[in-house]
Each structure stands twice: as structure tokens, then as C-alpha cells.
Amino acid sequence: MNTAYILWLRQLKRYFRSKPRVIGSLAQPLLFLVSFGFGFGSIYQKAGNGNYMEFLAPGIILMSVLFTALFSGIDVIWDRQFGFLKETLAAPVSRMAIMLGRTLGGATVASLQGIVVFLLTLLVGFRPQNIVMVLASFGIMFLVAVMFTSLGTWIASTMEDMQGFQLIMNFLVMPIFFLSGALFPTEGMPKFMLLIARINPLSYGVDAIRGTLIGVSTYGIHLDMVVLLLVTAVFLVCGSYSFSKIQV
């Protein structure tokens, strides 16, 4: 467990020492929040759907968790190029523990990011239903963070270079985000898009976080949790396996 802890700590230290990364990763959610929130707010309201900011804020919080978590896989490739990966892979500890430490570290960073974005949403007028459920929403952020950090690590473990990883990420990240119900309700979508939204694990994260923050849920919190836990477990297992097979 010491192994997992020290590698978790490493991810956190690296994050907090990189000021541009901290600031840069907050700029994007803020941009989405302000431009979409105020841009589409009045149309949404006229269509009779109520307060758009209330609908959008939980989605943007999870967007920042998703982006940070998935892209933290890039650290594996970074470490491979700068050589540090060899140091951990030659060590007499299980690669499972190494993968776990890295993943939980990346997930912690992504969750902290989500919490900061949550605070930003308060500034632009978002009001969650009650404080206890806000704490529950932090738990969901962490679960979603673990899920996508594992996925990112899994993909990164099979790649040698940055370009390949970026390409796959760009293919993955936008569809996952757009077809999750984070920006607009999925109910009115055409059948095939609805189908994608249904098999998209982020949809259940968005649904769960909306359930906790504003008390509105489509699938129900139980189904959300079952799907999130199952998919996270699968990604973790596949990520660990793939990480344990890395050769340098």
C-alpha cells in the first residue's frame, strides 16, 4: 500500500507544482459555463424547460472531471518518454499497486478540479438544493474520475507516443461529452443518438450528479450507481492488465 500511496502523492505534487496546468484547466469549464449558460439560457427558458444554469452547471462540473481524468493517462506516456516509467517498472512491487496509485492520484486531481469548478458555478448563480447532497456529489465526481483515469491509463499503456494518444482522445472525449446529456437533455434526441447516450457511461455520471445537486434524475440513482461502479471496475481491471504488460 505504501507503493500506491507514494505514487498517489507524486501525482498530487506534480499537479500543484504546475501552475499553468491548474489555471488552464479551469479556463475551459468557465468558458463553457458562461457562454453556454448565458447564451442559451433565455432560449431554454422560453422553451419552457426552466433555469438552464441549473441544468448546465452539474454537466460542466463533470466535463472538467472527464477531461482531466481522461487526459491524465498522458502522464504514462510522458513518463515513458522522460524515462521515469522504467524506474517504477523495474521496482520489486506489483504493477497493480503502481497502476492503482497513479490512477487514484489522477482521479484525486480530477475530483479537486471538479470541486473548484463547482465553486465557480456558485459564482455564476448556480444554487444546489442542499448541502448534504453536495457532499454526495463529490463522491460521484470521484467515482467518475476513477473511471475515466483508468480508461486513460488503459489507452496510454498501449501507446508509445503522444500523437497517437491525442488522436484517440480527441475521437473519444467529445462524443462522450456531447452525448451524455451534460449540455442538453437527451430525451428529445433522435433514436441513434439516444442509443449512444444510453451506452455512454458518462450519461449515468451526469444523471447521478444532477440527482444529487438539483434533485432531478432520469435513470434513478440506483441504476446510475450500479452502472458507474461496474464500468469503473471493468476499466480498472483492463487498465491494470494493460499496464502490467508494458515493455520498455
Partner: protein
């Protein structure tokens, strides 16, 4: 004496390239053994296979009685390694890099701080222990890597071109220290080099490797007698048909040295 490393018919092919071509050798416990050869001869690839980082295409290996493919953890517990290319975390301090290594290599918690302090003083980086590694020069990084490789007192120490980019003084200093623990703790040292005098002065036995094959093996004296030459350098020329000097200045090497010096 007992064999601590034994390699039989080891081969590694990357697509069309045969990096290591059917080599066999053994290293005795407590021995200092050198792989001498030009760049691209297959030295690093062999070390990677011995240290579980790369699977061989064919062949058998035993490290401290264990198979690097079957018993990875036991093998990893048996050695320390200093890699040819940088392997530090630049965003962490010298101390943090050492601490991470101490935890990964299961140095007892009570001894960690004392040993880290000892090793940092030994490589003269104690006053810079709280500086980020990215602010270090190439030579300083190398010294830190060596300190790190010795931190957990391994049974076998692998050093891949350990003195590349080090000034002669630090080089001597490092070898003196290594020979001391080699004697005191019976630590086996396996190193690769393309410096003649290093192989001749430091190693008990030398294997000359070229194009993935071991062309000759023995004590420096035996190699000289075998070829009827006065120096190891001439023996090398006789065995491989080239001097190692021209290889020394190969573009890849120059690039590596530069990368070490100016790496950020």
C-alpha cells in the same frame, strides 16, 4: 563460486533487426563484469531483458536463481539499476526522488532517511536535496541516479553506461565507492561501457560484444594474451576489426551526452 547470472542462447529480434544474437555467459557472485562494445551492439537490450523490462525472443536466463519472465518480483528484488537514459522525475526534488525509490524498493522505513542522507552526501548533492531535479545539470542528475541505484543495497547492480557524461573525477570517485561495496557486501556489478580503460581497470571479466554477438570473453589479461596484443584497445581492434574511438563520437552518442547536459 556460485553463478548469480546465467544466460543461455539469448536472442532478441525487433522485426528485421536482431539486436541480441544468441549470446551465452555467466557471472559469478561478487564479480565485476563488463559488457564492452560500441553503441547499438545490444548492450542495453541485454540489460533490459535481464531486468524484466523486455521479453526475449528466445533463450534462457536466471538471475539470482530466478527466471526474469516467470518470477518477475523475485528477480526485481535482486537487483538495482542505473539506466543509460535519464529516469528521474524532473518535477520532484532530489530528496523526493530518493524517497520514492526507497519506498518502491522497500527500504525499511526506519533506515530510509539516514540512507538517503548518506547517499546524497556521497554524491555531493546534500545541499541541493530540496531543489527540483529539473534545475540540475546533466552531471548532477547522473550522480543522483547512481545514488538512487545504490540506495537499497542490491545483490546485483546493473549499470548501463554509468559514466557517460561524468567528469573523470566523479567517475573515479564513483568506481572507488562501488568497488568498496562490491568487496564489503559481495555485491555483483554488471556494467556496460564503451570506455576501454574503464573495462580494463574496473572489471574482473569483460565480454566484448559487437552486432549482438559476444566475440570474446575473459579477464582483460586473457583477452590480450588471446589476441597477442599489448593493450585491450588493440585486442578490441583485432577482435572486432574496428577501434571503439570512432564509435565514441557517434552522432547518437553526442546526442545522448547533449540531452543529458541540457535536458529540461
Amino acid at each position: 563460486m556460485a553463478e548469480i547470472i546465467s544466460v543461455k542462447d539469448l536472442t532478441k529480434r525487433f522485426k528485421a533487426l536482431t539486436a541480441v544474437d544468441n549470446i551465452s555467459f555467466t557471472v559469478e557472485k561478487g564479480e565485476i563484469f563488463a559488457f564492452l562494445g560500441p553503441n547499438g551492439a545490444g548492450k542495453s537490450t541485454t540489460i533490459k531483458m535481464l531486468t524484466t523490462l523486455l521479453n526475449p525472443t528466445e533463450g534462457k536466463m536466471t538471475i539470482n536463481g530466478f527466471d526474469p519472465q516467470e518470477d518477475q518480483n523475485q528477480v526485481r528484488q535482486s537487483f538495482g539499476i542505473v539506466f543509460q537514459d535519464p529516469s528521474l522525475d524532473d518535477e520532484l526534488t532530489a530528496w523526493e526522488n530518493m524517497k520514492l525509490h526507497a519506498v518502491l524498493y522497500q527500504v525499511p522505513a526506519k533506515e530510509q532517511n539516514q540512507r538517503i542522507g548518506e547517499m546524497l552526501r556521497f554524491v555531493e548533492l546534500w545541499d541541493r536535496k530540496n531543489s527540483l531535479v529539473k534545475t540540475f545539470s546533466g552531471g548532477m542528475k547522473r550522480r543522483l541516479e547512481i545514488a538512487r541505484g545504490l540506495l537499497h543495497h542490491p545483490k546485483i547492480l546493473f549499470l548501463d553506461e554509468p559514466t557517460l557524461g561524468l567528469d573523470p573525477q566523479t567517475r573515479n570517485h564513483m568506481w572507488e565507492y562501488l568497488k568498496r561495496i562490491n568487496k564489503a557486501e559481495q555485491m555483483t556489478v554488471f556494467f556496460t561501457t564503451h570506455y576501454m580503460e574503464e573495462a580494463e581497470k574496473i572489471a574482473n571479466r569483460v565480454a566484448i560484444i559487437d552486432h549482438g554477438k559476444i566475440v570474446a570473453m575473459g579477464t582483460p589479461e586473457q583477452l590480450k594474451t588471446q589476441t597477442g596484443k599489448k593493450t585491450l584497445e588493440e585486442a578490441f581492434l583485432a577482435l572486432t576489426g574496428k577501434t571503439i574511438r570512432e564509435e565514441e563520437a557517434s552522432p547518437l552518442d553526442a546526442l545522448r551526452a547533449r540531452r543529458r547536459m541540457h535536458h529540461h
